[in-house]
Symmetry: C2
Subunit: 256 residues, 2 copies
């Protein structure tokens, strides 16, 4: 028995209602997955939930699905952003795909002093996020923000959101940076008594953050520096490890 296809539909869904699907979605259903009219699938979005559905029509300009019973109601999701310095394209794709599997709500590509790659294809990353959301069973599709410099992102930081910053050079004496004293704690420990509420994770580039960037980060009162262990992690490994640890400490990798 082939497994049910999950399709994200960014339009109102309701039991007994119909929804349009795009030309790209028609192509996927018809040509890639070889489904046809009358075949079952699952449709979802974060606002309305997840519904059993049936393919009604698949045409050249688009298609229609008919929503049946709702299988899942909308549910709260962890409010967790992932800011990361763009690395090689494959690694960026990977961060977005696996970050989606691990429940990130929003991706913020962030240029830093030592960032090599200066461009990201946000539309491409949005498609990767959508596909990963469909595959992993979540109701929302995380957004991909436009590329911003770290300084601007920090200047515009929304009040009330904390930032877990993964500091590879965690053993640099803080006196040099004029910030808080002490080595960055392991992530789980640092988050143990942390406030619930909105958070973000910041992963630096392969070359690490520049001294002035680290100094600024360590002085900000919404920042929690953490270490991800004794080995040097590639940026994509660090992103996945950090997301996992945050979800285990404060998110939905805990028993609820």
């Amino acid at each position: 028995m082939s497994s049910l296809i999950r399709l994200h539909i960014d339009a109102p869904l309701a039991e007994g209602g119909k929804a349009s699907i795009s030309r790209a979605q028609v192509h996927y259903l018809k040509t890639v997955m070889r489904r046809g009219e009358g075949d079952p699938l699952v449709v979802f979005n974060a606002r309305d939930g997840e519904f059993a559905a049936t393919i009604e029509s698949l045409g050249g300009k688009g298609g229609v699905v008919a929503a049946g019973a709702r299988r899942r109601a909308p549910e709260p999701e962890p409010d967790l952003w992932l800011a990361f310095a763009p690395v090689k394209r494959g690694a960026v794709d990977f961060i977005v795909q696996k970050g989606t599997e691990l429940g990130a709500a929003r991706f913020l590509p962030t240029t830093t002093a030592r960032t090599n790659a200066a461009r990201v294809r946000e539309d491409r990353l949005a498609a990767i996020a959508c596909e990963a959301a469909e595959q992993c069973g979540r109701l929302s599709v995380p957004a991909v923000a436009p590329l911003r410099p770290l300084a601007a992102m920090l200047d515009e930081w929304p009040a009330g959101r904390r930032l877990m910053y993964c500091d590879e050079a965690g053993d640099a004496p803080d006196e040099e940076w004029g910030g808080r004293a002490g080595r960055a704690a392991p992530a789980l420990e640092a988050l143990k008594d942390a406030p619930a509420g909105p958070w973000a994770i910041l992963i630096g580039p392969e070359g690490g953050f520049a001294p002035e960037e680290r100094a600024r980060l360590r002085r900000l009162d919404f920042v929690t520096p953490v270490t991800l262990g004794p080995r040097i992690l590639r940026a994509d490994t660090a992103a996945i490890a950090a997301l996992t640890l945050w979800q285990a400490a404060l998110g939905d990798l805990r028993r609820v």
Copy 2:
């Protein structure tokens, strides 16, 4: 200033001693990294530690390095195996690379009932593990075991080693399997009061474990079933998440 190259040398290293390097290592140093005689590097292995060193000669059949001061003594490392069902080649490469960054001591490619790929290139994976070990700063290079079926691996399981088994179908009622009652706990919770000592992690194939495999696993007294959260993780994501959580609970992602 270019960063120091770290080279794994599987031969005795001692302050003031010399060690041979392979033709492949000569090629890497000379042709890829453009180093020459007299240039500094770092050499290491798990038995002797890490040493400052100098390139003494780079010839057609091999080379010689001269070890200087020891920078790091040998140190205990977490005794953690990673058993995984082989998925697509890129994902397997990725599991070995990132598993090395996250401190796995040994990789056990494991065929299961629903395994698609039936072959792994152990020599290739060994090279990936070595390069990742050099890059991430660890002293040991994890071994890659020959491909074995799950049943055989369990038949030969060494006494005293526990197995954390990541159960994607964690909500199946245990009465069906005749095993322990209850949903698999989140990994961190399951490990909270776990015994120290040797452990392994088992990650299943994309299609999951077959019912008889899950039944057997849940009946074994050295097995701890865990869940990795509410979303479906690809095998490579699951491997990284599981390693991270184990290291945070019992390994070296904790403060020591």
